[in-house]
Symmetry: D3
Subunit: 152 residues, 6 copies
């Protein structure tokens, strides 16, 4: 982890980053249930998932996959950018315990800030795929970024 200044002018629509993979483990799900208080049987009751719900096994919390996927894209610390939210988070397929995910982050929007001339907005689409190449989660990560001239 390093500090690297990237200004608004340094972002280009279409640029893409790919992460390495990470296996979503039973321990991750147990810790996330403990962190959130969500002990729904879809995540915590293997017997019910397999024998009653026909799910094939336990499923990771949606918020776990969001948190890990966004975390996997957190590379350098950029003092010129600030994350202010996400749009269009969609759970496309379930992630089962033991699945391995990878994340692709693509700049899909670069625009002036509507009210502040010294800032720009950068939108990055975060797509999560499992080991079968299926997309399981999609969201758009929203940043405001300083323009270079404005802070020199």
């Amino acid at each position: 982890m390093q500090v690297v200044d990237r200004y608004f002018e340094d972002f280009t629509a279409g640029e893409v980053r790919h992460t390495l993979g990470r296996t979503i483990t039973e321990a991750d799900v147990v810790l996330h249930a403990g962190q959130t208080g969500d002990f729904f049987p879809h995540h915590m009751d293997e017997h019910w998932c397999v024998h009653e719900a026909g799910l094939g096994g336990r499923i990771a919390h949606g918020t776990l996959i969001i948190a890990i996927a966004v975390g996997m894209t957190a590379g350098d610390v950029n003092p010129q950018a600030m994350s202010y939210g996400y749009d269009r988070i969609r759970f496309i397929k379930p992630v089962f315990l033991g699945d391995t995910i990878r994340v692709k982050a693509e700049v899909v929007g670069v625009a002036d800030h509507p009210r502040r001339a010294e800032l720009g907005r950068v939108d990055e689409r975060v797509s999560v795929t499992n080991q079968h190449g299926e997309t399981v989660l999609s969201l758009v990560h929203l940043y405001v970024v300083n323009k270079r001239g404005a802070h020199e």
Copy 2:
């Protein structure tokens, strides 16, 4: 935690739920850094936050507050509803270690599913406030819900 069937017809725009409070602790942030791999100094370096960044203290990860807030609204298990995503997640103010949050969930949208007559869509706005009454996070939680007739 109980299983309670609530069908689409049982939801009304404007209905509101309030959670109790929960303090966001240093342990929560340390565990969330460990779960996500996001060790940015804003969350992990008290000395930098106070002495260099002028932040007043460490700040919780945005994904931590999302996960805890959504988890705090997870009450009964409703077999008739499925969460499929979130819209318009906005980080409005930082949450500092030691802040106490409460969550309000309000049904803000009830509509037929655009393509499937047996389903409806329910949108619930999740608003998180701190101990000063300030809103720190807002998002819209999206559900598809079975209609009563369709599954009888």
Copy 3:
């Protein structure tokens, strides 16, 4: 989790609550060893359990099953009741990693407090069963509860 006032007069011997299920995972046992400092090989050494002790696998700590079972029965917050202890905790069968437990809580005693007229005592039997329907743990949870008249 909600705040619901239940007074002594609202409890009836024989009333029963049932929880959903929860799988006891390796992560739970590792975390509980870490919390308690109990790293006995019965819980932590798979090789010894299988090849030397003839146990068939690792066994969850008794205090883990107590804590999870009691936690699973913690539903609404009742400001009128206070838990003051447990009686007759008995480990009836081992719980193996991967077993799924459910909990039944039955009011088995409703009585005036021996010395304080404004209070009553409620005893709740907590019974834990595994996925084979076998009872693995039993205890009696002891509460003192305010009487309605006394606090109006």
Copy 4:
């Protein structure tokens, strides 16, 4: 941690063990809430505890103190003894985050097993005190122990 054989004949009523101290931390309580699913505001909401409930601060879960206290008394592995339960668990005073506990374990009962001649029963009273010397928890730990002759 070592394996040490202690037979029934080796236990004497009145023998006492004392543990070192351990501070009950915010992290312990957060982890225990996560393990049990008990997020009651008495344990998790500092603001409510101080400003509304008049508690002075957050209180550790009873099951956390039981688990840690019993764990602190788990010294040598004794293949001749088996823990089968606890009696008369009483929460005498609250344990606040930051309190430091110590544990005293005293053999208070040594008796033949009522039905099996080759076994004896050993009862050990576990008493937990805080840094002010106040007793906060008491319980009786129940063991069955092999008699020496029976297994030679």
Copy 5:
């Protein structure tokens, strides 16, 4: 855990301690990744380990095995000794998730302190073996220990 005074004169080259076994679990590795921030695919990506790297499975972090092995040798608290470092830590074979390790600690050096007459140095070789009897890690733990006369 007890306090036991052992002075320099009480250590003899060649004395050996053996620990019980402990299985290195997926939960241990997930927690250690979270503690250290090391999410290298060798530890976290089961799919890559098996299908691309030919490793046969995920491998525990070296620092995890060091920490657990040293922790397994931490028996009594000895106020007369202070650990000041380690020498020649060598990773000899990988430890896979699910492997069970045992630790042998042997005093391999007993010597006067080069500059302070009231102290001695004790070196203890820590050797870690897996369930196949293979040595996986070796290090020398370095202590300075008070001499008996000096503190009487």
Copy 6:
């Protein structure tokens, strides 16, 4: 985290990397005690540390600081290098709960492998400082690295 090939020829004695800072928290120490089983009062008993031992507060485990410091230097994944151990680990000053550490890693040795012509050895000195600029830990991290020609 990215995959970046660096061959032996790409390392130069004297090159230096600096990490950002990280505060060592009570939660880190509690989790590390739980991971290692080392509940010595120096790490776990605030009351003893302050009132009896004169330490001023609890001290982080040495293995915790080693693990975090090495983890903080784990940047890119380099398929051409393999860590095989550490030399001369020295605990120079205690790290207290709440201290903030930074790490400097400097290549201090670049040499041919003594027996295998296609490999080189790279030694990296890892130095950990606290928020007062004091060095608290030092070690040498040992790598074997592929030479460029050998693997083309």
